[in-house]
Amino acid sequence: MDKRFFLKRSLAIGGVFVLLVAVNAVSAGFVGFNPLKVLADIPGGIVWMAQNFMPSVAAFEKIDTILISLGKTVLLSVASSCIAAVFAYLCAVIGSREAGLGGPFPLIIRGIASVFRNIPVVAWAFILMFSFKQSEFTGFLALFLGTFGYLTRCFLESIDEVAGGSVEALRATGAGFAPIVTQAIIPMSITAVVSWTLYMIETNIRDATLIGILTGAGIGALFDVYYKSFRYDLAALVILCIVVAVIACEAISNYVRRQII
């Protein structure tokens, strides 16, 4: 047994730890970040939040305005996710390595998906605001494009994972591409597709709030207005409603997922 082996390993782990601390210290010093001061400030921050960020009784008078906005945002997310899912699925079927048309398609589709996926939704919103101004459509488009990129990638992986064998079998029977899609690829991948789409709806409700602040529409815009006019009680109520909506959505999609397996 080589005792130095264990010694070396301990030294290596210790060295990495020291290095991490050093990097942290240098970067914190550079931006003037003082961890101790932050720790000391936390209790005060919490107290302030508890005092101001509390939905008051008066705030509930505005609940109908809030719920209407929230409803719009939720529906926008659902619509953008579902339409993006349709386009993403078409692209994924064509571009799938195992099942698709082959040739240059896998590379092209992957490239397109990658571009849309790697531009953050917020960046899309900024870009699109120049062309489409502040409107709900801008928000819809931003969510659509981000979701399209992400779902295309997910669907590609799902199809390649589940459909390869059955596609090969149907190809061997002499079936053409279109029947293979409807008879094998769709049935084999439909659960994954529904599952991913539900996940994107959840994510998009969260993102839509942020996008709404930028595009001046939906629940995000409402929050922005209340927040900037120092109506923290209303802003808090908005956040509470969003949290409830997101949790409800997650519960529903979990239920649906369990049912379709």
Partner: protein, 276 residues
């Protein structure tokens, strides 16, 4: 035409990259109604050979003539017509697991359908009746409406065979059909394939890892080694020396060969080869 061989392969070659050759100069012919096994180590080119015949893999060299038609050179449309008469059975069954048995069996007819009928999954009453009859013949009548992901391995493979038979094939290509099955299910699957050869006159080309099954069920055995066809003969001719040659393991004791004691021979060889 009918008197000619069902399948005639000449100097078939396939390489996946410039360095590795999967198949080299494979020449063989299959008559109608013969049970032919292909043995050889993993990576010897068995799967490649089968997939070249229905062009799931495109060969680089040589010719494949199936039922009088040159498969190697034909276009997509013609190829789909030829594939209708060549069924395939897979090690991992390759069923649509979210569909029922009967739906999977009917998919064997997709090659005969128009695009619209295929897309919508519209099958004639006659096709449905035949599908039920075949399921019944394979002992799966009660599982017709069962989703295939709930079947056992042996049952899944029987659905695979039913799908293959509904194609009205002249040739069945079976790629390791029993490699994932227990001995009882394996025996049953091999018996069904043998039955297809004997009663329906279909030719079966079966890749096998299990030499004992190949000897028990085949009319003829082929062996591939590093992409070359190194053996083509009856099960009787496949002696211990031939087997050790094929698998590249040391020659087993000669006494095992004498007297044609096959049980003995197999045990000896399998023990050495580790193929069981």
């Amino acid at each position: 035409m009918e008197a000619r061989n069902l399948l005639q392969i000449e100097k078939l070659g396939k390489d996946y990259s410039s360095k590795s050759k999967a198949l080299t100069d494979v020449t063989l012919s299959l008559p109608r109604g013969q049970f032919v096994s292909v043995i050889g180590s993993s990576g010897a080119g068995k799967s490649t050979l089968l997939r070249c015949i229905n062009r799931l893999i495109d060969p680089n060299a040589g010719s494949i003539v199936f039922d009088g038609k040159d498969v190697a050179g034909m276009g997509r449309r013609e190829l789909r017509q030829v594939r209708r008469r060549i069924s395939m059975i897979f090690q991992h069954y390759n069923l649509v697991y979210r569909s029922t048995s009967i739906e999977n069996v009917l998919q064997g007819r997709l090659g005969y359908k128009s695009t619209i009928a295929g897309v919508l999954g519209l099958y004639s009453e006659e096709e449905k009746e035949r599908a039920f009859t075949i399921l019944d013949q394979l002992g799966l009548a009660e599982f017709a409406y069962t989703r295939t992901d709930q079947l056992s391995g042996g049952q899944k493979q029987r659905v695979g065979i039913a799908r293959a038979l509904l194609q009205d094939p002249l040739l069945i290509l079976a790629d390791e059909p029993i490699a994932s099955l227990d001995p009882k299910a394996s025996q049953m699957i091999m018996e069904h394939l043998r039955w297809a050869v004997d009663t329906l006159g279909i030719t079966c080309l079966v890749n096998l890892h299990q030499v004992d099954y190949a000897i028990e069920f085949s009319d003829r055995i082929l062996a591939l080694k590093k992409g070359h066809l190194v053996f083509d003969g009856t099960p009787d001719e496949l002696d211990a020396r031939a087997i050790s040659d094929i698998y590249g393991t040391p020659y087993v004791e000669e006494r095992a060969v004498r007297g044609g004691l096959f049980e003995n021979l197999e045990e000896e060889v399998l023990a050495t080869v580790g193929a069981a």
